[in-house]
Symmetry: C4
Subunit: 197 residues, 4 copies
Amino acid sequence: MRQATRKLRIERMAALTDGLVAIIITIMVLDLPLPKAPTLAGLAPLAPVFAAYVLSYVNVGLFWNNHHHMLALAEQVNGRVLWANLALLFFLSLLPFVIKWIGFSGLAPLPVAAYGAVLLAAALCYRVLQFELIGCNGGRSGALARAVGRDAKGALSLVFYGVGFVLAFVQPVVAVAIYVAIAGWWLVPDRRIERAA
Amino acid sequence: MRQATRKLRIERMAALTDGLVAIIITIMVLDLPLPKAPTLAGLAPLAPVFAAYVLSYVNVGLFWNNHHHMLALAEQVNGRVLWANLALLFFLSLLPFVIKWIGFSGLAPLPVAAYGAVLLAAALCYRVLQFELIGCNGGRSGALARAVGRDAKGALSLVFYGVGFVLAFVQPVVAVAIYVAIAGWWLVPDRRIERAA
Amino acid sequence: MRQATRKLRIERMAALTDGLVAIIITIMVLDLPLPKAPTLAGLAPLAPVFAAYVLSYVNVGLFWNNHHHMLALAEQVNGRVLWANLALLFFLSLLPFVIKWIGFSGLAPLPVAAYGAVLLAAALCYRVLQFELIGCNGGRSGALARAVGRDAKGALSLVFYGVGFVLAFVQPVVAVAIYVAIAGWWLVPDRRIERAA
Amino acid sequence: MRQATRKLRIERMAALTDGLVAIIITIMVLDLPLPKAPTLAGLAPLAPVFAAYVLSYVNVGLFWNNHHHMLALAEQVNGRVLWANLALLFFLSLLPFVIKWIGFSGLAPLPVAAYGAVLLAAALCYRVLQFELIGCNGGRSGALARAVGRDAKGALSLVFYGVGFVLAFVQPVVAVAIYVAIAGWWLVPDRRIERAA
């Protein structure tokens, strides 16, 4: 395949992802309710919804940032990569819905569990995407595979999201604390890939 | 025409398409109604709307995926190609409206027929786009024409969408089953073009 | 300036434009009201709003298409070009608002005049953008200037939009007919530039 | 790192920014309320909200324009640059919310102060982004650092936004005047960078 064509293909996958991420972020702002009165007292009830917005912005930003680093080491995409990416975007697109639900019903077990389920599913898709991208970019000896390594951090996150999901049915607040902790952990940028790049 | 200019032109058509696809997908989520209660019983009535969302996400993803593969084999665009693409995007942009309608009125004959009509019109535009792209990229002997071949699958889909549209007036559920079947059929990626690429 | 940097600059202006056009189109669909009943009788009252949507989709598509052809002949942008483009996008961004207004109040004089005013202002900005782009891409002897020529079509359109705007206060229906006629006239692609390209 | 990969990375940061800016602008239009009657008298009450929309469009346009000039002189991005950019986009994404709040509660102290706080925070992030970009693009002797110079204009703007924020609690109208003045001051394009380019 020609070099130019190959670049167009990977760029379009990046463009669709960037577009969707930009829209998901902005739509979450649309869902923020207006304060009832223009006073600090009127603003106070918004604090939990606003915190949920910040947490989700950070989570979407994390996915985008790691996606960005990962694609910088890829040269090829195929049909399976495109569908893994579409599946990842599908679950990210559910985030605004889940946040709106939490904003509407408070920290009830089911919505908080749904938030964890969406993040878990997105993280799973991300791993499949990573696996498929490695497969068509030099395999185990390619630059991407070497940069990613065993990705214990990614695997552990899956476990933690699962724990958060289960705990949400018992103690939703603890589940939220786990989601916050995972996001904080990932906020340290993925130095492995950056170093390799 | 210069190489760089030619690339900018095809990239902008891709960019507009990617942007619109990203927005269409996200807007469909905006239309998902919130559960009345944060319980499984409250979530149950959402199942059909959610299924409609998943089906439409898959359909939009299919169009985008095949569009992506097709453009990877094109080097040129002209005014007719741009308008065929805009017409395709027009019908895809109606999908969120039709889904919202189904979500509002249930599986009534007219909305289900409208869903089929929109998919049929989009598929027709896709074929016109394919035809025009082949026309300005080497014609019948070009790489795109050879990859596409007779495209019996595309032609048959048009027939099936038409059948679904007609059946919607008699048995909406059967029409929906046909839409699902066509999407499932296409989920197998278009190996012809991928092989050629 | 380096070649790569120059390309990035023009590509970002194109990207912002493509993004905004994609969103404007989709937001217009969001404003389409749902039929009251899932029957042809319930669908009928939507005809005017739907026609307004189609007309606006065509108008936005026309601006995008001509923009696309124009940029394909440009190599440079400067601050004035970026602001002319932002002004064009500003007026295009008002289209969904004006259409929603027409959909809400019917073909009343003021909303129909506002529709014409928005199109007139967008067309004026387009001409300024064209003028500035020519100025920093070889001036009168550049490829873009030769392709555009005297642009009598563009100048006449301004006059017609102005006529439509004034007539809207007397006979809104006639003004709408003028808007439709201008769009139909422009649907013939701009062969001057395409030939040059 | 390969040239092509480096370009893809900076282009994706630009693409995410362009997408978000396009959506923020358009979402602000969504929040414009419809006139109660299709008459000039019905249109008059919209003047303040419309003015707020124009001011915010100009502010977002200014950030985008300067961002565009700045990136045209950069060749590299790293994790810190990406997060500084995401933080800038976070605060810009709050603009539609703050404008809707002002439109809802009028020029009350708290919403006007919030508008200033959002602009101040965005301007701070912009400076951090500039600092980080300089850091990974040649440092103090790089082309970007030389073009930016001491950036007294940027530093002064921070002070003025801070003054506006504080004054909003006493005299909201004066704070708005200050916001308008800063925007007007920046509307003169950043000739330093353009000259360097």
